[in-house]
Structures are given as structure tokens and as C-alpha cells.
Amino acid sequence: MGNGESFELVLTAAQADEAWGYERLYRSLSPSIHGYLRIQGAADPEDLTSEVFLGAFRRIGSFAGDEAQFRSWVFTIAHRRLSDERRARGCRPAISDAQLPERAAGDVEEEALRRLSAERVRTLCAGLAPDQADVLLLRLISGLTLEAIAEVLDKSPGAVKALQRRGLCALRKVFEREGVPL
């Protein structure tokens, strides 16, 4: 948490329905949640991010744990929401990021680069198995441990470790093929 505020203080405030507690948690976690959802190809990552935090805030009274556990908890919600959206999208046409209207941003150039990066990452992940992409993205974006990722994905730590290894091998082959120095 920024501004020298301890996570416990912020969590207690949010559990007491204090708006500033919600705001600190959202400011701290929403960029990575939003990025994860965007790279994973959510139809409307901004709306889905808001839904994730609304769901988390509604149930925050039942949460107990430290900051890492809270991060893992929110990513679990995000991943399940994403899975729900993917299932629902099976019956509907997908909307790509390019079709969404551009939203105003503070730095247009940086936002454009960010979109290009996201598109590049998405292309790279397209060559991976979905589970491998999930593990690698969660590892890099959320900073969760393998055990925490295992909980998010509802898999065993061993399986997550294997998925990570196979995903990295697949990426290495791609980079070697493109001549990108590793």
C-alpha cells in the first residue's frame, strides 16, 4: 500500500465500509487486474475489472489474510469472472480490443505502446496452451507464488509447476525462431 499505510489498516477500513479503504485497494490492484484481463482477451476489460472489484468489495467482510493473500483472492475472482465471460462468449461473437472505442487517457503515446505490448503478449500467448498462458501471466502479472497460482487455477502446485515449465519452453522456441535474444 502506498502513502505508508499498512495493508491491515486499509483492509480494516474497507471491511468497515469506509470508501477510502475501497479506493486504496482499487488503486493498488486494479492496474494489474485490468492488464491481466486485457491480455487474456476479455471483451471489455475495464468493465470486467469493475465487476471483479465490486464482487470482492461485497465479500470483503469475510476475507482474512495478509496482502499477498488478498492479491491472490482478487486474482482468483478475476480469473473466475474471465472464465465465466469466456463461457458466455461461446454463444456470442467476440469483440476484439480494436473494436472498442478509444478512451481518453493521460498519455496517448504511452497508452498506444501499452496496447501494442498487450497485443504482442497476446500473440505470444496464443501459441501456448491456455493453461500455460494462465500460469505464466499470473506469475508475471500478479507476482503470486506457485502455490497461490495453484489455488487460483484450482490445480495442484506440481501441475502448475509443470505448466510453467512447458510454457517457458514454448516461449523460448518462439523467441529463438524470431531471433530475439533471451
Binding site: A19, Y22, P31, I39, T49, R114, R120, L140, F175
Partner: protein, 411 residues
Amino acid sequence: MTPFAEEVRFAVSGPPPAPTPALASVLAGGFSNPTEKGDLLVTAGSNVHGPAPQAAGLPNWKEETEMPITGFFTAALAKLAGAGTAAKAALAGVTAVTTMAMAGGAAGVLPGPAQTLVASAVNAATPFEFPGAGDVTGTVGQAVGSVPAQLPVPVAVPDVPAASANAGAKAGSTSASASASTAAPASTPPAMLPSLPGVPGVPGLPQVTVPPAVSNLVNGMPACVKDLIPAGGATPDPTRLAAQIPGCITQVLGTASLPPEVARCVSAILGTIGGVSGMSTAGVPSVGSLNVSSCVPMDTSKCVSAMTSLLATTPGISGGGVPNIGNLPGLTNLTGCVPMNVTACLTSLTSAATTGTTGTTPKLDLSACMPTGLPTSGLPGTGSLPGLGTVSGLSGGGLPGLSGALPFFGR
């Protein structure tokens, strides 16, 4: 993997995304103090103008029949099925006496002496102000328009002792009751309650005293009312009660020579009670047809509102199981219909019946069943009815013949 990791971290960097209005509301004021109501932006565009009309129109719902007043009383009395026979008999007696006295008396249409009797008794017992015999003409003129010059049936009315100094004060505005008070001695010793029948095998019941107002009220009723409790120590038989009540109603109405409107009101109320006990209900009107305007003691709007509310919240009465009295909601609100604290009365009677089944001394406190405002000193109280635990049929589980006599309990 460094290029990939850097690519990913750059892609997810940046400021927090703009929250949706719903989340923005929470971020601004929390859940308990949202800054806006709902999230209208998620409403589907196709629903903006409301749901599309159905081609087939609304379904043809079966028209609901109005629940007759018998249903209300049946539901209420079905709750009492778990209570003992003695409790039912006591409640039926109190209800009958109270209803008859209040309905006819307050309407100001009873024959002169009877009106005086009822007025003095009720004025002594309740905070209501009732017209005496001297005020009958005006009251009847407003209520029914005409009064028979001669009473068709001579009425034998016992002497009316003064109820109390308090009663005289309350009845001061009614000339007849005031004169009745002045004609009688200033203070009258408490009258004796009609002796209760002895029960074989149990000690004799002690004599208890009741205030003059109550004694007069009971004595003023035809003997059939008192005969509802059988003499000779027998347990009140519901079947016999069902046979007695119709005749008693007829007798009371005939004695009082009530105008048709009031008679219809009284018979409706008493017929309902009787109908629950197995009487014919053919002539019992429903709520809609009941001329409650003739039932002056009722706070009509409050009573009907209470009944409606009660019916809406009363659990379904199944034939298989009768819920506990404690589950009957809203009985307190029936004070608009019955001039007594119904809940306290039921609780007292149920408690006495329940205690009786355990073999311990029942705590029968009839003071709770008296009209509101009645002085309770001298009424039979705690422990004054020893040995009732051995009375057969007092158990709520065993009510011989009651199920056959209560045809509407399964409704």
C-alpha cells in the same frame, strides 16, 4: 524470458482503469452510502421501453374468492385446538358474553332496562362511554331509524347495584346509568361468581369474588350463557356446546329484541363462533356482507384492517397440524374487534391448559380475558383452581369429538 516479462509488465502498467458507475459509487461512499442508485447503464437497450407486450395477454387468473369471516375465525380458533377443552369453554363463554353485551349495548338499541344494565356494567368496566336507557331514542334514531314502542318480549332484569364510584363518574354523561347508580347503594359488596361445577376426585373449587360490574354483566345474560359450562362436574363437551350455542343465540337475540340490523351483526359474530364449533354456517355472512356499521363497539376500520393483516400473515392452516398459538401473528391488533387484550387472554388460557396437563396446579387468570379496563381485583387468579390437572380432556392432545365438530379446521 526477460523480453517477455518486460513486455508483460509494461502492458499491465498504467493508471487504474475508469470504474463503472456502480463501482465509482462504492469508491465514493461505500455500500452503505452509495452516491447513486443502481446501475442503469447495464440495462439492456432492448428493455429501455419496458418489456414487450405479450401476444397472448395476461394469463386468465382464477378469480380469488373473498375469504369469509368464518375463515378468519376458523383460522384463529384452529390455533386453539391445542388448548384444553376447559380453556375453549372459558374463552367461548367470555367471548360470547362480551360480544353480545358490547354489540347490543353500545348500539343503544337494547330494551331500556337491559340497556341500562349493559351501560352501567360496561361503563364500569371499560373506558368507553355508553348511552343509557334515557339516551336510547337519539342513538337509535341515528343507528336504525326507528324503535319499537313496545318490547315484544318482556325482559326480566335483575337489580342493578352501583358498579363503583368510578363507574358513576365515567357514566356521568348518561342519565340512565347515572340514575341507576344513584338509586343503588353507594357501595355494594362484591358479588359471588356463579359457582363452578365440582369435579369428581378433586377438591372443591374455592369461591371467588368478582367486581359487581362483572357479576351484573353475567347475571344480565340469559341462563343459557351460564349453562354453557355444564353442571355436575362434567367436562364441557364440545359437541354439546355446539348444540347449546345456537339456541342460546336465539334466546339472547329474542330477549333483547334487537332491531334487524343489530341482530344480523350479533348473529353474524356469534354464528361464526358457533359455525366453528360445528353449527350450520349457512346464514353466516362474509366480511363483505357483514353490516359492521351496526357493530358500534368495533372500531370498524381498525378491526377490518387488523383482520386483513392477520389473514395475510397467518400461516396456512393445514389439517395435519395445528400451529402453536404463539405462531399466530397479529392477535394483539384484534383489539379493534374485541374489547379485550386477546393475546393476553389466549396466553393465560393456554398457559392454564398446558400447566394442567402436567399435573401441577394450573394458573388460570381470567382477568386477562375481561374487557379492557376492567378492574381485575377479586378475579380468580393464580393457584385458585387447584386440581385441574386431573380433569380429563384438559390435555390439548385429547379432545374427544372435537375434530368431528370442527368441520372447517382442515381448510
